[in-house]
């Protein structure tokens, strides 16, 4: 906790984006998380991504559940919409909101406790339904808010601050998402914004469910020797498997890549993901090979990061359900509520 809010004075070189806002305009209230929390860096990365994407905060809905991570939507896009759901139930809220108002951009923030323990069932279904939202899983391996018990993502052999060693198998959100048919799977690290920001931008623009698993060290309860989610351990074992860049449809491509070294994947809205560095045995469009690659590298003790899997063209849950394409609030009342006769006709179908 800090006693003064971040002063509003800003650097004069701060630029404004296409909607006339500076990066500072995307901030929220002061963080009340522990100093040095990885989550605060992710908040800063979300702010940067939203600024770079020219998002208008009023067109964004922030969703979260319960936990340290789920507090963070207060700290970014202070003028956006938001819903702080019951523990682990953010996917339901997101699904409902997205179904009724697809015009908003949905940014979900959750943690390893909220997503992989109490909310695991919800997470599985929101993945398989391919709800159009980005889901940021701030993963620190412990329950920080209750003083550092192991969470479901703690690795076997990882040591808690008080010395206990975890013997239970972890749930790996990236592998889980792949098996459930996720269309966008990424992993990153709170301490690497150069990687995280483009991934978040691509995830926000991806049409469908985008899971971004972010290793986000807990400075208070999981940043010690023996932890496998500390700043030091993550830096030492992190392996950037895929180097991906994201370009908006409006921006010209300025970077030059060696021919053959880059694979461009165009998203439905025209923006482009450039895979710059991809290992030989890897193919971010092939679910089975990605799965095998991750299993193999993790077996060797590495933490592979990057935009790992991308299927830009899969139908999202609104396509599957064939719902109306406009937001319900924009439907004329006669269409939204067509009256008794229409109801009678519908009921007749079921008789």
């Amino acid at each position: 906790m800090t006693h003064i809010p971040k002063p509003r004075i800003r650097h004069p070189s701060l630029r404004i984006n296409a909607v006339g806002l500076t990066r500072r305009d995307y901030e929220g209230s002061m963080s009340t998380l522990c100093a040095g929390c990885g989550h605060d860096s992710i908040t800063a990365a979300i702010i940067e991504a939203a600024w770079e994407l020219d998002l208008e905060p009023r067109t964004v809905a922030k969703l979260s559940g319960i936990g340290c991570s789920s507090k963070t939507p207060t700290y970014f896009l202070g003028t956006a919409h938001g819903f702080n759901a019951v523990h682990g139930r953010m996917p339901s809220i997101g699904t409902g909101a997205q179904a009724t108002n697809p015009d908003l951009t949905y940014i979900g923030v959750s943690g390893d406790g909220d997503s992989l323990a109490i909310g695991l069932g919800q997470l599985c279904h929101v993945i398989r339904r391919n709800v159009d939202m980005v889901y940021i899983l701030e993963n620190n391996g412990v329950y920080g808010l209750t003083k550092g018990q192991f969470s479901a993502s703690a690795d076997v052999g990882s040591r808690a601050k008080r010395g206990q060693v975890n013997r239970q198998q972890p749930i790996d959100p990236a592998l889980l998402a792949l098996t459930l048919g996720a269309t966008f799977v990424a992993r990153s690290f709170s301490g690497d914004k150069a990687q995280l920001v483009p991934i978040l931008k691509a995830g926000i623009r991806h049409r469908g469910f985008a899971l971004v698993d972010v290793i986000s060290p807990c400075v208070a309860f999981n940043d010690h020797e023996g932890s496998t989610k500390s700043y030091r351990y993550t830096r030492e074992n992190l392996e950037e498997a895929v180097d991906a860049d994201f370009t908006l449809p409006t921006a010209g491509i300025t970077a030059s890549y060696e021919p053959g070294s880059v694979r461009a994947v165009t998203l439905p809205d025209g923006s482009v993901v450039h895979f710059r560095k991809v290992p030989d045995e890897f193919d971010p469009g092939n679910r089975d090979r990605v799965y095998a690659y991750l299993r193999e590298r993790q077996g060797a003790g590495e933490i592979p990061t990057g935009l790992l899997y991308l299927d830009p063209d899969a139908p999202d849950h609104r396509d599957t359900l064939e719902t109306v394409s406009t937001s319900l609030v924009d439907l004329p009342f006669e269409e939204l509520c067509p009256g008794r006769e229409a109801l009678e006709r519908l009921l007749t179908d079921f008789r």
């Binding site: 906790m1 800090t2 006693h3 003064i4 971040k6 002063p7 509003r8 004075i9 800003r10 650097h11 004069p12 070189s13 701060l14 500072r24 522990c34 100093a35 040095g36 929390c37 990885g38 605060d40 860096s41 908040t43 800063a44 709170s190 301490g191 914004k193 060290p217 400075v219 940043d223 700043y231 030091r232 830096r235």
Partner: protein, 605 residues
Amino acid sequence: MHPTDVSDPHYYHRVVDCQWGCPAHTNVPEYIRLIALGRYTEAYMLNRHSNVFPGILGRTCDRPCEPACRRTRLDGEPVAICRLKRVAADLRGDIGDLLPRIPAEKNGDRILCIGAGPASLTVANDLLPLGYEVTMYEKLERAGGLMWNNIPQFRLPPRILDEEIDMVLDMGVALQCGREVDSLAEVLEEGWDAVFIGTGAPRGKELDLPGRWDAPDQVHIGIDWLQSIAFEHIDSIGERVLVIGAGNTAMDCCRSAVRLGGADVKVMARKPRPLFKASPWELEDAEEEKVEILENHSPSRFLVEDGRLVGMEFEIVRWHEGEGGRLRKEVLDTKVIPCDEVLLAIGQETAFPWIEREIGIEFNEWDMPVVDRATFQTTLDGVFCGGDAAWGPENIIWAVEHGHQAAISIHRYCQGTSVRERPPYGQNLVSVKMGLHEWSYSNNYDESQRAEMRYADLKERLASMEVEAELGFDLERACQEAERCLNCDVQTHFTDQLCIECDACIDICPVDCLTITWNGKEAELRTRLTAPAENLDQPLFASVGLPHTGRIMFKDEDLCIHCGLCAERCPTAAWDMRKSELLIPYAGLEAGRQHPNRKQAEVGP
């Protein structure tokens, strides 16, 4: 870049822009905090320690600190440092017990100061507590130099002036007024252990145009005219007055003329306004008092009819930048402006007809004595020189600094040690952390605009030379203005081995000062920081390689508001807020040793 060595006192000193900009290195943020705490006496003494004349300077200083102030780069207006200095002087209590004690037993060395202006008074101020006997020869009838004979009373009331001059004289200066030196050789024969020349730049520049000498009673040299007012030899002036020149002396002349009966006073400047030498606030004050300031008017002749000055002819000019950046004028027109009197304020120079050229003091091509920039010694051992006498007109605060440096040299010279070897500066660095999120300074950024000065009623002040124009800040304004200070001496201090590169400091910094990245050449680095570091006058801090990745923490000092949020959000206390205090050496006092001028030396922020 090489890692920054913050143990070098000058690194953090440079971050304190005002103190760095002040020739005498006055500890500005500390005295502003003392004012905010209501500790005016201590604030005054802290000032006096460096600048000797806080009450005088609080009204008349050229304020090199203010354009330097970091606040200017953030919201366009510097902290009103000078006016806060005056607050300390106005509200202070009795300081009798806090002034240095003068030993009854003298050390046997006798020092002569020629001229009794601010430089000489500073020499005396520094040497008397060490047991020296200091004598001053002053050609006029009282001490103070230009502080009393050139600065009009409505800017500097005599009681303020007398009080601060007397503080020095009362330490035991043997002042001989009315003693004009006309031969340095003779003076040297009197057997002084060291001589300090602080005779200022007493000769106003002449404007030798056609007609200049046809009506001499109506054309005056500005500084001589001001001096005549101080002496009460002059108490009126013609109705229409032209002041030639656009420096601060011109401002004093025109504002005095308005008070002595000038109904139509014009300042005539050759150059356009941005090139005026006068401080912007003095120009504003003059205009407030109905003085008209005309730019691009180059005087060409005095118009005299029947032995009476009736006007002056000016060329209306436009300036072009010529070769080597020199300005070249283009004459567009000529214009006659009628007037009754003319005041020439186009500069002043030193005059040394009284120094014999064969006694060992070398003179340069401008007929000025050759004075060493570091030791203030002339080419004759034991003869020192400072203030305007050394390198031409500067200002009071420079004269004070010259006095301090010359006193160091004189002391070393009398002790038989090398004057060339200068005592080193030191630094105290103390954490200001009081608790988990608590600092012992006001760390929030106050968005207030600069407080406005209060002035005496225009009619009232123009009626007399004696009514002080500026009323000073009241307590409310002083407190409000003190909060605008960014406490630049509370430094963001980095301990590299503690950093875990969590980025918390970078994310929280409101002005994007911080970056962790790979090392490079400074010029290239400046372009790829979180915010570009385009102000090359401001240093970049560079750490050594950080423990986790070997990358470097960089800080662009330029716009840091010293809010302490980096330190608050740092989980490992790698960032800490530490107050740096520059320890300035004075004569007989190595840096860091208790100065007799400063009995209550350690004051918390």
